[in-house]
Symmetry: C2
Subunit: 374 residues, 2 copies
């Protein structure tokens, strides 16, 4: 079941829409054209908007459809058609019909431009997710496999026709079965040598990074994940990306510590224990106006502490954010430049299937003096 | 300038929304919560919908915002907030605020679920395109480079931050500067040997296929494109994918015939001229209930005629449709099986950046008898 919202846009010369008579004339022109496509159409309310908002016509039609038509004085006309569609019901207006209706309206109203959108299916099970730069992306989700709320976040596993099962945390796409490239770019497979290495993973509750790292024969991996429920869900429904690594909490090759990662980092610190790699598989680099606030403080604390438990040759490896957010990435790099002792970094990017965009990853190490003068 | 439409969805137990008093109670609950986020909010109309459509509340707010709240008897509540935003204006509700408003409404109304969408920016310059399976995808388009209408179609070249310039035909994404993989999969670079080959391209007005094929040293290429205007636009704004091949209509290596491709195909046919490859770079395989109608007739005519001008070892190479449309692909394959003489095919797929999805390509050849009994 879903509510379907069909959106159509038009533009006319601003002169035709700038005053009340013009707005009324346009609304009067739209109504009979809509009636041909929407049986039972009748006007329910006509509102002259305050604040130079133009005019709005509210109509009702068969099948419980409501239609709002707004004429904006700047020359834009929007049509929103909304109705309830039960599973199996034929749509009142599918994308093809919406395009046809758009073409008729555009022609008859003598609009300079028009656009029809694929109908929005408001199903409340997460078909729509944002890109890093907050674009709206509709996914081919056909079912919700799992849904729970942990003390830390809302956890969903949904099924996408093209991506397989996908982990969704607090309404944001996190990792899908199709995302091996995410893990391989994060770990720089083929470029880094993990054989015999000691490694800490901060976060990583989906198990994919641990699973892939273990294939590279490290000496030992500590995975520090706070959310037991994420691991339980992934162990059940994301086996193709995490294998059986989430089945046990401790073995000869790794230990999963279910706690705030700072607890173990501080323990390592007090013991003077150092490792070869720390992976930051926690929150994305935030998108904010200034590098301040709780999340940035957390990111800096994690970075500072991680470099204290890294060997001089060690590396901090992390994902950051979408390539579409250069400001956020620049802010992160500026923060990196504030670390003491100083660090240097290399960036990699990869198109991540479940993000539908390029994602940036950092490999950060202690700064080395150039020209052999170290 | 754009109209911004902010959508929020909620669900409550159906019992709370099934009758008029329940619907009214929910609407009355929403109104004061919205008022905190939308200054100047006041009710303009309240409608009890016919056809068991539930109830609708239309509100107006500052900045010319209109807000419609619908309670559907099935337990869904939709909120649509719409206003005009001039370039440079601060949004009334950005995605973060919309998410915050959603969280407040969900909690206060005791909803089982809620969802906020990234605001829809109705700019009328093509930020939104459909996937093959008609999902709504918002692109990072920041400008329109070219716009014209030819006798055959509406032609736009828009600029995407991540994809470079992108050709849009009749409101559908066609090819972008980032799409070398499209052309390479269509031509099966590295798998097919075009050296010394005679090749016909049907369509291909963007010039990318011709440009890439010429790098493989074919004997001669005939490109049969009906729309001069597409070539003019691509020659100007898509140079990185077509080089200078669209600069001239005829040279030692190729000829571009600006006409219905059937004219040249029929000429070849009457002359008994045969070639090694025919590329179908025309329309997508249609998505329809039955393989009938004008487009299917055209596709079959093209296929039949192409195989008449192909050498016995020749191949017909074409793109088809999204991997998300298996029914359309199956229908196409069933049509292929009807061809006489019989053909066989191989499929390839590739993720096409500007389509944001996997696309299917066919390589079709005359059927060969197995076991050497030919």
């Amino acid at each position: 079941m879903s509510v379907q919202t069909v959106l159509l846009d038009f533009s006319v010369e601003a002169g035709r829409a700038e005053d009340e008579p013009g707005q009324k004339a346009l609304l009067s022109g739209v109504e009979p054209l809509l009636r041909k496509h929407l049986p039972g159409l009748s006007a329910a309310a006509r509102v002259q908007m305050p604040h130079a908002g133009g005019a709005l016509l509210l109509l009702l039609a068969d099948r419980g459809a409501s239609v709002s038509v707004r004429v904006f004085p700047q020359g834009l006309i929007t049509v929103n058609i909304e109705y309830y569609k039960a599973d199996g019901d034929k749509p009142l207006l599918d994308f093809e019909s919406a395009r046809a209706l758009e073409a008729v309206l555009r022609k008859q109203l003598n609009c300079s431009k028009g656009q029809a959108y694929p109908p929005i299916k408001r199903t409340l099970f997460g078909r729509y997710f944002p890109s890093a730069d907050e674009r709206l992306l509709e996914y081919d989700i056909d079912s919700v496999i799992h849904e729970s709320t942990s003390p830390f976040q809302k956890i969903q596993i949904v099924h996408s026709k093209s991506l397989g099962n996908m982990l969704v945390l607090d309404e944001l796409q996190n990792i899908a079965e199709a995302d091996l490239i995410y893990t391989e770019t994060l770990m720089q497979r083929g470029k880094e040598n993990f054989e015999g290495a000691e490694i800490i993973i901060l976060g990583g509750g989906d198990g994919a990074l641990l699973y892939e790292l273990l294939k590279e024969k490290p000496k030992f991996v500590w995975m520090l994940e706070i959310d037991e429920d994420v691991m339980t869900a992934c162990n059940k429904y994301m086996k193709s990306i995490c294998g059986d690594v989430l089945e046990r909490r401790k073995c000869d090759e790794y230990e999963i510590v279910v706690d705030d990662c700072m607890v173990t980092l501080n323990k390592f610190l007090s013991q003077g224990k150092k490792v070869d790699y720390v992976f930051g598989d926690l929150t994305d680099v935030p998108i904010s106006d200034t590098p301040s606030g709780e999340i940035w403080d957390f990111i800096m604390l994690i970075l500072e502490t991680s470099f204290k438990v890294l060997k001089p040759s060690g590396k901090f490896m992390t994902h950051a954010n979408g390539a579409s957010c250069p400001e956020a990435l620049k802010m992160y790099e500026q923060q990196l430049m504030k670390l003491d002792p100083p660090v240097e970094f290399v960036k990699s990017s990869a198109f991540i299937p479940s993000f539908l965009e390029d994602w940036i990853f950092y490999q950060i190490s202690f700064k080395t003096e150039k020209n052999g003068t170290a």
